[in-house]
Symmetry: C2
Subunit: 137 residues, 2 copies
DNA sequence: TTTGATAGTTTCCAATGGATACCAGATGCG
DNA sequence: CGCATCTGGTATCCATTGGAAACTATCAAA
């Protein structure tokens, strides 16, 4: 398919956005969202605001370091907001932004694909491994 | 909105697919496709079969090692096929499978999002960095 | 004969990510 | 009182990952 996606950029430059070029901004954005933790956090916040540890408890295997790091990046990218609330132990609430919501929807199609097709992938892996064993035995 | 996606799995197990659980197969698939090289290769092959070096030339920054590794993984997952052709220097053609094509379409929405929204992300980053500098100066 | 193309593998090093410990402030519990 | 626990992180160490470059092999063209 790969139609050409010519369009004007912010500054009126004539270069088309092209993630296949290492220096294109769309590529930087792609690198950013091709990240499992970002995908999972965004999907979770799309269902409503969450606090830091609450979020960590919901996402299996998410370390504090990566939670902190990923949330900071998402905030920098304008995809989530961080709000510190002066409760007794200070709680911090993370919420998705309108921009983040549009991404969450695009990303949701990936989650749905995984849910619908993981069995086909697992089957393919098994027959691949079996063929490898028969050849390389 | 995170509706519950209850459905029967291959073996008739009652556990719903849930990428938020570290051990769920959908999570393994998600880890797999949350990979910039896989995304870019799949998108490229969706436009037609490509040879190894041809593909490497089209994707800026893709090293031989990662090209080889990613293509091998994609083949194992049943998303692309590898065909060696006995030409004078042996050429190898990679093509997308029907299963891979369904994923490429889901993934394409990510590429489109990046193309449509990278300017908003860049703007957000700039104002974030500016705020940080003002506070932490 | 040296150079180039084909498609990789191997090796080395820098960067990323996970596990763990630690920090501060306040509350509960014995 | 004194220790554990909750909050949201930061700091550190180490294993794995990813990138750069060199190396493999075969054959063709210059």
């Amino acid at each position: 398919m790969r139609s050409s996606h010519l369009s004007e950029t912010t500054s009126g430059s004539v270069l088309p956005p092209n993630p296949y070029s290492a220096l294109c901004p769309t590529r930087m954005v792609l690198d950013r969202i091709a990240d499992k933790w970002a995908v999972l956090i965004l999907g979770l916040l799309d269902g409503g605001p969450q606090r830091f540890n609450q979020l960590r408890r919901e996402i299996g295997g998410l370390s504090q370091k990566m939670a902190s790091h990923t949330l900071k990046s998402l905030e920098r990218d304008g995809l989530v907001t961080r709000t510190a609330i002066a409760t007794v132990p200070v709680t911090v609430e993370y919420a998705i932004t309108p921009l983040g919501r549009t991404l969450a929807q695009a990303v949701d199609s990936l989650r749905l694909w995984a849910e619908n097709n993981f069995d086909a992938v697992l089957t393919a892996q098994q027959s691949y491994d079996q063929r490898s064993n028969e050849l390389g035995a």
